[in-house]
């Protein structure tokens, strides 16, 4: 029998999860940026800028943006690495990748955009100076495999940045739950005409490993000096680890 995994609060066959996640993102792709701004009151821009500031990028470096979707991080990375550097935007979902690619084309930028699975990266080993995954790891079926792949493609000394929803500060939990399970699906229904996808978002955040668990997962995948920083009382956490 096929192994099962979680899709929000539901248990689904592992082989079905990728298709179900793909459905969600096909559905929300067009309204993704508007909804991000609306749901986080614009805070997601600050979280992403903080992540880029921690990347330690310099001109000429090679960066891989896994599950980069609408290219928010890719665009910021491009400014840091300059014309001599390389930023690769990747996403498993074509609708999201197309949004990101078109957005960059509209800004006159043409970095490569590659549709690929974060759990099987089609890149050589020891190649990138920095790998990032922002709000993407949560949706991957085999997170350990994805982390191992990111470790493989990083150069020794390179760093991985994982920006992801995490466990919120305990006293804020009731308010956060109310917001996530009542307001979020309502906003999804009104703005994106898709309450189910935003219900999945709230559920998938709860099922995602907390700060310490993810840190342990990164260490198990081979990363050294793993640290994390909570943003907005732990609503989001940025994990950083190095390949040695």
């Amino acid at each position: 029998m096929d192994k099962t995994t979680h899709f929000g609060y539901q248990q689904v066959a592992e082989s079905d999860k990728a298709a179900k996640v793909a459905e969600v993102f096909h559905s929300v792709a067009a309204q993704y940026d508007v909804m991000n701004d609306l749901m986080s009151a614009g805070l997601h821009r600050l979280w992403k800028r903080f992540a880029v500031a921690q990347a330690g990028l310099r001109p000429g470096m090679k960066v891989l943006d896994v599950a980069g979707g609408t290219a928010d991080l890719t665009r910021l990375f491009l400014k840091e690495v300059g014309a001599s550097g390389t930023v690769l935007l990747t996403d498993i979902n074509f609708s999201m990748l197309r949004e990101g690619r078109d957005r960059m084309l509209n800004e006159g930028k043409t970095p490569p955009a590659v549709q690929c699975d974060g759990e099987r990266l089609p890149f050589p080993s020891n190649y990138f100076d920095c790998v990032s995954v922002a709000f993407g790891l949560r949706n991957m079926t085999h997170k350990d495999q994805a982390l191992a792949e990111m470790h493989r493609v990083l150069k020794p000394g390179g760093r991985l940045l994982v920006l992801e929803f995490s466990k919120v500060w305990k006293p804020l939990e009731p308010a956060y739950d109310l917001y996530s399970f009542k307001l979020l699906p309502l906003m999804g229904k009104l703005v994106a005409q898709d309450a189910a996808s935003y219900q999945y978002l709230a559920e998938s955040i709860r099922m995602h490993p907390g700060q310490e668990e993810l840190k342990t997962m990164m260490e198990t995948a081979g990363f050294a000096k793993v640290s994390y920083h909570n943003l907005t009382a732990g609503v989001v956490a940025l994990h950083k680890g190095f390949k040695v």
Binding site: Q54, G56, G60, Y228, H229, L238, F242
Partner: protein, 201 residues
Amino acid sequence: MITAGLIERSLNHLLRQSPGATEALLRHAGASVRVDLTLAQVDLRIADDGYFSEAAIDTPDAVIRPTAALLTRLPFFGRDALRHADYSGDPALLATLDRVFKQLSWDAEADLAPLVGDIAAHRLHQFGRGALASAAQAFSALGLNAGEYVVEEAELMARGVDVARFNHEVDTLADGVARLDARLRILEIHQPLQEAHPRPT
């Protein structure tokens, strides 16, 4: 994490603005440096392009410990404050780091220019530099005045010369006491001999 990112970014920014700095560090590419801030340790490696890159290091080649004196003097004395850091490790690397750090210079005007324009950046920079110089002067004058009040008017503290004179007198007294002590000990040794041969009565 914030401290490490901030130090890495700031140092690299200053290196970028200081001609020849990365070339000097290039000779030590691959070497590791630990900035020990007591509460946090930031490990950096000198990358192949001569810039610093945060890294996971077990045994660094050099350790820099910024002292409290450095941190308090840095805003007013700039690179002169670096004299107050403690350095240990590979002497060649430390010599290069010392030389590079002393030549680092923040071109605030260049950083402000893209935000507010060249003219405003120049004026803001001039204003900032003037304000900082006035603050340093006021700080120094305040220190001198406070010192003068405590020593001369309130007489809560002794002057340096008085302390030195007092120390000299204490040393002289200590020498005198030591000599007296030695003579007493000699007398104590000779006492039993006198008792063994009492004077004739």
